[in-house]
Amino acid sequence: MAEKVGIEVSLAIAEAAKLANVDVVAAYPITPQTHIVEHLAELVADGELDAAYIPVESEHSAMSACLGASASGARTFTATAGQGLELMHEVLYVASSMQLPMVMTVANRALSAPLSVWGDHSDVMAVRDTGWIQIFAENGQEVVDNVLCGFRIGEDPKVLLPVMVHLDGFYLSHVIEPVLFPEQSKVDKFIPPYKYPMPLHPDKPVTMGAFGPPIIYAETKKAQEVNLEASKEVILDCWQEFGKAFGRHYSPVENYHIEGAKVLLLTMGSFSETAMTAVDKMRGEGREVGLVRIRLWRPFPFEEIRQAVKKVDVLIVVDRALSFGGPGGPVCSEVRSALYGEAKKPKVIGFVAGLGGRDITPAGFEEIINRGIEISQKGSKNEFEIFGVRE
């Protein structure tokens, strides 16, 4: 039987990596992710997890060590957040374009300056185009489940890509939640052993990360794009199999009370659960509102989004990051792009909220919905609004 445990989500993530029987962990501590790698270090030191734990001098080195580990055929895990993710930046592209699978949990955090250790999606959005599969979790259970799925998806011979599992820093990383841990035997069955087709080995030398002159570079990028898009089929299959094996179901876009809705809210990450509370209350008052949550950020779920919002008049997108001097929130701008060519589409209204750990309450979401409806009717001088900012 699966065991239900009250546990800090960060520790639960380390336990999930242990359930996945990782071979190598290379990581550098950074708030709010530290407890994940701290607990993994404990598990290795106590002999509970037979893995190589590589303490490195920076996140740049952490990701570089992970590349080497994955290339040699080791199941690889790491975690980071905020500035740490930024320091990894250039190596992230190398992991995806060299098709080296690994799972990395990111405890999403705001970026300096001013210094902020608190949660938002600024770090995620800066690595949006790095070619990783990116999944968003809304609670501790979802992180644990998707760490397990992440290994199965990324290591699939049809995919071979690194996977980021995003969890909001502090909102998820530091809370104690009830988490169901699947049985080891069932996890072993769910995640087949990792077998990289062409691992680094002296008996059969290969060159990884060679240079690509203009005559071949565009072909390598096309291959990469096709591969990332094609991974969606494996992701869908993995979530379906996960549902069958463990009874919890995931999909690229999760809809909440969209039936009969005229106005939809669109969110990503942990504040989606707060948004659900607001939607419940407003539905109780007879308002025709609903919620769409993006779970699969990359590859982007174009079709699912179009399907979910096709019948509504207004779509209010709440971003937790700001694209300076641009269209406001990155999620909103992508959703707008996805809908632009549709014959019938809702008015898309963008908000940026919850920056640097600013809490958005259910009442806050209610206010956002009401203000969004007002803008859809009367228009606005601005491309987007920052919600709750003191004028």
Binding site: M198, V206, M208, G212, I216, E219, T220, V226
Partner: protein
């Protein structure tokens, strides 16, 4: 390489653009980077081999008579051989000539 790079489509590439054939860098032509090529005057050459030693590309070879020749498939035309050749047996000439 099984075929020239210019004939590879994106579907022909290995996983993560891995090069699975060891040592195939020798099939990569660097000679077309060249704007000048070395011209060897064997009347001045004393067969000391300095050009052979200094060539950073390793593309200078000794022929049957003991003189030296640059393999123009690889020679990038850097001119180091000409500069190091103290009997002045090597001159760099523009490619268009």
């Amino acid at each position: 390489m099984t075929k020239p790079e210019s004939e590879f489509t994106w579907k022909d590439l290995e996983i993560g653009s891995i090069v699975a054939e060891p040592g195939n860098a020798s099939q990569y032509q660097t000679g077309d980077w060249r704007s000048e090529r070395p011209l060897f005057d064997n009347n001045k050459c004393i067969k000391c081999g300095l050009c052979y030693i200094f060539c950073p590309e390793g593309c200078i070879e000794r022929n049957a008579e003991g003189y030296f020749e640059a393999n123009l498939f690889y020679c990038k035309g850097c001119g180091i051989c000409a500069r190091e050749c103290w009997p002045k047996a090597i001159t760099m000439v523009p490619e268009e000539e």
